[in-house]
Amino acid sequence: MKQISIVASVFKMYLLQMIRSRGFFVRGLVFAPIWAISYYYSMKVFSPDSSVITSKILLGLILWIWLYDSVWDVSNCLSSEKKLERIDHIFLTERKTSWVLGMSFALTLFQLLNLAVVWIVISFLFGIVLSANPLVIVLLLILGIITISSLSMFAASLSFRMRSHVNSLSIILDILMLVCGVVYPVVLFNPALRYLSYTLPVTIMIEMAGMDNMSITSGFLIRLAICIIESLVLFGLALKSIDHAERKAMENDSLSRH
C-alpha cells in the first residue's frame, strides 16, 4: 500500500511539472502527428489500394509511437536527473523503483494524449476509421502500460549502470522496432526471428490491435493470454534488473558525474 502511495506521489509530482512546463505539450502534439502522417504516406506508396491493411498497420504504429516515445521520455528524464545529480538523493531514499514507476506512469499518460491526437489526425484528415472495441482498447492500454513500465525500468537499469546510456537504449529500441512487426510484417521473418518476435509482448499487442480492427476473433484470446504472461514476466525481469543495476552503480560509480 505504501509503495502505491509513493508511486502515486511521484506520478503527481511529474504530472504537475509537465502541466506547468511551457512547450512540453507542443513538443508532443506536433512531433507525433508529423511522424504518423509521413509513415501513412509511405504505406500508401507500397499499398495504395488496401485501406484495411494500411489502417491495420497504422494502429500498430500508433501503439508503437506510444511505447517508444514514453520510454524515450523516461530516458530523457533519467538523464536529466543524473545531470542535475538528484539521482543520488533518490537512491538514498531507497525508493528508486517506485520513483521510476511513478515517472513512467506520468510520461505514459502524457504520451496517451499524443496517441489520441494521432488517432484524430488520421481519422479526420485521411478518412480512415480506426475503429476498435472499447474492451480491447482498455486491455491494450493496460498491457501497454505494463510493457512501458518494464521497458522504463530496463532504461533506468542502463542509466544506472552506464555514465551515458542513450546510445545503448537507442540500439535496443531500434532492434525492438525492427522485430516487433511495426516496420516489417512478422510473417515475412524467418521462423527463428518470428519466434523471437513473439516473445515480445508488444508484437502480440500490435497483432491484437490489427485483428480487432479487421474484426478477426479467431486466436484472439490465446494471444491475449500469452501477452499477459509475457508482460508479467518482462515486468518481473525489469524489477530484478533495476536492483542488480544499483549494485553495479555502486561498484562503477556510474551515478556520479565526477
Binding site: 505504501k2 502511495s5 509513493i6 506521489s9 511521484v10 509530482m13 504537475l16 511539472q17 506547468r20 512546463s21 542535475l84 545529480e85 538528484r86 543520488d88 538523493h89 533518490i90 537512491f91 538514498l92 531514499t93 531507497e94 525508493r95 517506485s98 520513483w99 555502486m250 561498484e251 560509480d253 551515478l255 556520479s256 565526477h258
Partner: protein, 315 residues
C-alpha cells in the same frame, strides 16, 4: 562518547584505462563519535567526496568497511540510508517548477512519511529555516542561499541521526554563507552527528569538534582544531613597550624579539612553542626602565595547520 561511524582500512580505486588505476582513497581509518561535528578537510581531488559517497553507501569501497552503529554498511544498506541526511555540494535536490512545499512533500513521500506526519514536519522545517513565507513559491524563483536552506530542510525530513554536508557554503554569497553557518550551529540542539566537508577553514574551526585532513587519498591528520594547531606548534607573542631606550632594543633583539614600529609606541614580536608569562616577568626584571603596556598572543589558525600539512593554501 560512543562511536556512531567507524571506518576501517578503507580504500577505493578507480579504473581510468586499460590496466591503469587511480587510488582515490588509501587505507583510511576514522571513528566519528555520536553527536560530534566532524570536519573533513582537503584540497580538490583529495578524496573527500569519494569518502562521503562510500559512507552514504552510494559507492562501494575497493577494500575496507564502514560500520554505522556497529552494522556493516554493505549489509544493512537500507537501514543505514534511513539514518542519514545528505546535502551534496552544488547538487540540486529541488524541482524548479514545484513550490518549496511541494518539493518537500515529494521527498517526504519518497522517505515513506505519511501526510499527517509530513505536514507538521515540513511546516516546522520551513519555519526553522526562514522559508515559511515563500513555502508556496516555485523554487525556480529562489536565491542560491534559499535553495541551500531548502536542501538542509530536505535532508532533515527523515529526522536522520547523521547529517552529511558536502561543502554547504560553496558558491554562496557571504551573507547566505553566514546564514547557513548559523543554522548549522543551531542544529546542535538536535543532537545530530554532522560530517562537514569544506574548503572554508574558518567555518571548520568555528563549527567542528574534530577535523581530519585528507590529501591524495590519505588521512594525514586528525584531532580537535586546537590539537592540530598545537602541532603547528608556534604562537606569536606581540609586546608593546614604553620607555625603551636603544639599549633595550638591542637586548630584546639579542633575545630573539623582532622589532615592529607602531604609531606611538614600539612593538616586539617573537614565535613561541610554549609561551609562559615568566618570560615577560624576566624582561621586566632585566630592564626595569621599561613597562610592558600590552601583550597580544596570536594563535595559529586551522589554515596554518592546513598549509603546513598539505603545502596548499585553503580558501
Amino acid at each position: 562518547m560512543a562511536d556512531i561511524i567507524t571506518i576501517e582500512h578503507l580504500s577505493r580505486d578507480y579504473v581510468v584505462g586499460p590496466g591503469k588505476k587511480v587510488h582515490a582513497l588509501k587505507d583510511i581509518s576514522i571513528s566519528i563519535r555520536r553527536g560530534e561535528y566532524f570536519g573533513l578537510l582537503g584540497p580538490n581531488g583529495a578524496g573527500k567526496t569519494t569518502l562521503i559517497r562510500i559512507i552514504t553507501s552510494l559507492l562501494a569501497p575497493t577494500e575496507g568497511d564502514v560500520f554505522l552503529n556497529g552494522s556493516r554498511s554493505s549489509e544493512y544498506r537500507q537501514q543505514i540510508r534511513k539514518s542519514i541526511g545528505v546535502v551534496f555540494t552544488g547538487k540540486r535536490s529541488h524541482y524548479g517548477l514545484l513550490t518549496a512545499n511541494e518539493n518537500l512533500f515529494f521527498w517526504a513521500s519518497l522517505y515513506g512519511l505519511e501526510k499527517r506526519v509530513a505536514r507538521p514536519r515540513i511546516d516546522s522545517l520551513l519555519k526553522e529555516f526562514g522559508l515559511s513565507e515563500v513555502g508556496d513559491q516555485r523554487t525556480e524563483t529562489f536565491s542560491t542561499g534559499m535553495l541551500q536552506r531548502l536542501n538542509l530542510a530536505r535532508a532533515l525530513l527523515n529526522e536522520p541521526e547523521i547529517l552529511i554536508l558536502d561543502e554547504p557554503t560553496n558558491g554562496l554569497d557571504p551573507e547566505a554563507a553566514r546564514n547557513i553557518k548559523a543554522i548549522l550551529a543551531s542544529l546542535r540542539k538536535r543532537n545530530l552527528t554532522v560530517i562537514y566537508t569544506t574548503h572554508n577553514l574558518g567555518d571548520a574551526d568555528d563549527l567542528c569538534d574534530r577535523v581530519c585532513i585528507i590529501d591524495h587519498g590519505e588521512l594525514i591528520a586528525i584531532g580537535t582544531p586546537s590539537e592540530l594547531k598545537r602541532r603547528v606548534g608556534k604562537e606569536i607573542v606581540e609586546l608593546t613597550l614604553e620607555g625603551n631606550a636603544d639599549q633595550t632594543k638591542e637586548t630584546m633583539r639579542a633575545d630573539g624579539w623582532e622589532l615592529t614600529i607602531g604609531d606611538h609606541c614600539e612593538r616586539f614580536r617573537k614565535e613561541f612553542v610554549d609561551f609562559s608569562y615568566d618570560e615577560l616577568r624576566e624582561i621586566e626584571r632585566r630592564m626595569p626602565s621599561i613597562s610592558i603596556t600590552n601583550v597580544e598572543r596570536i594563535h595559529p589558525t586551522l589554515e596554518d595547520v592546513y598549509i603546513k600539512i598539505t603545502g596548499k593554501r585553503g580558501s
